[in-house]
Subunit: 372 residues, 2 copies
C-alpha cells in the first residue's frame, strides 16, 4: 500500500487475520501506518524509481491516498505491475474535471457544473442557473475541504484561480443531507454494497456517520446502491469506492465526490458490519471473494476525534473507557494538534439516540470541548 | 510482549486501534507475530540480559507464553519493571504442582491429585481412589497435550519420569464436557467475565469452542464465572485468565488447567464479543478500564484450522471465502505442516447447528479432509 496514513494503518490491521503480507511505502517512520506495519519502505511516492523498487515484489499495489501521479501509475501498469484501482479508474478520483466529464458521459446525476476560465466566467456560470453562491473547486489536490470555496460574488471568486490549476464550478446544491453509498468491486467483477449511510460534514470535513442512514426511503437507498455499483462497474474500479451524495430537497440524489480507497464514511464498518471496508478493500484488490457487507447492529454511529488543546489524551482515554465499556476507539497514533483528525469512535446498538449520544460524548470529551 | 506466536500477532492487531506501541521479543523474523509487528527485537527469552534490554523502555511487559523462567521475572520485577501477570501469579501457570497446591489452599475444586515419586507411587495413588487409569503430567513444560499421559497400569507409568521433572498424578475425571471460564483482571482490581464456553479437545489440543456453552445451567455458569473471578483475585493475576474446567457427570465443575494470557478458548471473542480477549488483555496489563465482554451474537463457534497435506492453502481459501462470505478467517502466517495449528475460523449467528456446520466445514476444507 502506498501512503502511510491512518487508512493504511487500519488496512494492515484488517489484513493480519487474512495472513496478508502487507508492505508499506511511507514518508517517515512516524507515519500513522509506519508505527504498526513490519515491512515499511521509506520514500517519495512522486518518484517513479521509488515506486518501481517498492512494487517489484508486490502481488498488487493499492493506495492510502489519491496523490500518486497518474503517469507513474500508467508506467507501473505498462511494466506488468497490478495497480488496483488502475490509473484509468483512479484518475476520476484525482481530477474532479475528469470525474465530472466521465459521470456525464454515463448519465450519472451530478450538480450542474463546468470548468470555468476566470472570475468573470464564474459569474457567467452563476447566471446560467440561479446565480450566486457558486462552489469552486481546484480539479486536483483538494481533500477534507481544502481546494473548495463557496463564493458569493465575483470578487470572492478570485482566490481559486491563484494556484494555476483548472477550476471547476458547481451549483450550490440545496440538499437536506449528505449520504454515502459505499461499494467494493474486485477485478473479476464481484461487487458488494454496504448500507447507505448518512454523513455529517463540519467545515468540509466528515464529522459523523450514521449507518444505515435514518429514515431513508428504501427506493432511494436502492437507487443510491445501484448508482454506486454502476459507477464502480463503468469506471472499472477495483477496491472500495465511496460515492458521496447529496440528497436534495426534492428527493433526488446527486454525486458530490468519489473516493477509490477505504473512506471515512466507511469507518463504521469496522465494528458495525460483518466485514469491514478495510478487509473488503484488501480482498478486492487481491481478487479474493468478498466478505459480507451487512450490518451487525441496528445502528452504528462513527464520530471523528479531532485534536484539542491538550496534546496528552491519556486521562481523557481513561475517562471515556471507564464511562462506556462498549465504546470502540480507533486511534491513529498521530500527534495531537487542534482540529487534526487523530482517531474516531464507533458505537453500536439498538437505540439510535443512545448510540449517537455515546459516540458524540466520547469524541467531544477526547477533544476536550466537554469535561464531564 | 514476550513471545512471537499467534497470540502476540493477534494482540498486536487488537492494540492498533487503542494506539498502543507494541514491542515484541521474538525468536526469529519468521515468527507469526514478527511478520506483522513493526517493533521487533530478536532474542532468547531465557536470557536475563536479553529480557532486561528488551524491557528497559517498556511501560509494561506481558507474555505470549508461560515459558519465561520465573526467577528472571522476579529479577525484572525487583528492578522496577512492571511484569503482568507478575511472577507470583504466573508461576501457577508455569508449574502444575504449584498451581494445584495453591488452588487447594483456597478451596478451589480440582481433580484428586498429588505429586508422585515413581511408577509404584502412581499405583499407590490409583489405589487411593478408583484405580487406573491415572493422568500423569510433568509439572513444567507441557502444552497442547505434550507432557500429559493417560496411563492404564504401572508399566505405562514409566515414561513421564524419564524427563527428570516432578510428576503430578490426577484422577481421570468422568466428565460430560469441558468448559472454560475466561476472565480479565487489571492491577487496580477491575475484572470482567466472558460467557462460559464449551471446549472440545482432540488429542489434547483445543479443536472447537462454542460461546456460550449450550444448555449450561445458569447456576453452574454463575458458579464457573465466580470461581474464575475468585482465582484471578486470590492469585493476584493481571490480564486474561483462562480457567479450563471439567463438567462432571454429577454436575460439579473441577479446574483442569489455568492459562494467564489470551487463550484458544477465547478466540471466539474476536468476532463474537463486544471486546475481544486480546484487547481486554492489553487494557488489563496497561491498567486501562476494561471493555464490555458480552457476546454480540446468540452463538459464536470457533474451530481451529490445522495443517493438512497441502502446504499451499490458497485455493482452499478462495473456496471457503466464496462459499461463506460471513466466515471470519484468522490465519497465523505459519508454514503448513500436518496437524499444526495454522489458524482458526469464527462463525456467528442465531442458529447453532448452522453456525457450527459452517465453521467445521471451513476448517475441514482448509485442512483438506473434505474437498467439497
Amino acid at each position: 500500500m502506498i501512503g502511510g496514513g491512518q487508512l493504511a494503518r487500519m488496512a494492515h490491521q484488517a489484513g493480519v487475520p487474512l495472513g496478508i503480507r502487507f508492505k508499506l511505502l511511507a514518508d517517515t517512520p512516524q507515519d500513522s501506518a509506519s508505527q504498526v506495519v513490519s515491512d515499511v519502505v521509506l520514500g517519495d511516492y512522486r518518484d517513479l524509481e521509488t515506486l518501481r523498487r517498492f512494487a517489484a515484489d508486490c502481488d498488487v499495489v493499492t493506495f492510502d491516498h489519491e496523490h500518486v501521479p497518474t503517469e507513474h501509475l500508467r508506467a507501473l501498469q505498462a511494466e506488468g505491475i497490478a495497480v488496483r484501482p488502475g490509473p484509468d479508474a483512479l484518475v476520476n478520483a484525482q481530477d474532479k474535471g475528469v470525474m465530472r466529464a466521465k459521470l456525464d458521459s454515463i448519465a450519472v446525476p451530478c450538480p450542474r457544473h463546468r470548468i470555468v476560465a476566470d472570475p468573470a466566467d464564474v459569474t457567467a456560470f452563476a447566471n446560467e442557473g440561479d446565480g450566486y453562491p457558486v462552489v469552486l473547486k481546484t480539479v486536483r489536490g483538494g481533500y477534507d475541504g481544502k481546494g473548495v470555496w463557496v463564493v458569493d460574488d465575483e470578487a470572492e471568486a478570485q482566490a481559486p484561480f491563484l494556484a494555476g490549476v483548472p477550476v471547476l464550478a458547481e451549483e450550490k446544491v440545496d440538499f437536506v443531507r449528505e449520504l454515502a453509498a459505499n461499494v467494493v468491486r474486485s477485478p473479476s467483477g464481484q461487487a458488494v454494497a454496504y448500507p447507505v449511510v448518512e454523513s455529517v460534514q463540519e467545515n468540509g470535513v466528515c464529522a459523523e456517520v450514521t449507518a444505515p442512514a435514518p429514515d431513508l426511503d428504501p427506493a432511494l437507498s436502492d437507487e443510491a446502491q445501484q448508482l454506486a455499483l454502476r459507477i464502480a462497474g463503468e469506471l472499472d474500479i477495483t477496491g472500495h469506492v465511496a460515492v458521496e451524495l447529496f440528497q436534495t430537497r426534492d428527493g433526488r440524489i446527486l454525486v458530490n465526490e468519489l473516493a477509490m480507497r477505504p473512506h471515512n464514511s466507511g469507518h463504521w464498518s469496522q465494528d458495525g458490519a460483518v466485514t469491514s471496508q478495510f478487509e473488503n478493500h484488501l480482498r478486492a484488490v487481491l481478487d479474493l471473494p468478498l466478505g459480507d457487507p451487512r450490518p451487525r447492529a441496528k445502528w452504528t454511529v462513527m464520530v471523528n476525534v479531532l485534536g484539542g488543546d491538550y496534546p496528552d489524551m491519556y486521562h481523557a482515554f481513561l475517562h471515556c473507557m471507564a464511562r462506556d465499556p462498549g465504546l470502540k476507539l480507533h486511534m491513529y497514533g498521530k500527534d495531537v494538534k487542534p482540529g487534526r483528525k487523530v482517531g474516531h469512535v464507533n458505537v453500536f446498538g439498538d437505540d439510535l439516540d443512545d448510540v449517537r449520544e455515546r459516540a458524540r460524548h466520547a469524541a467531544a470529551y477526547l477533544r476536550g470541548t466537554i469535561t464531564e
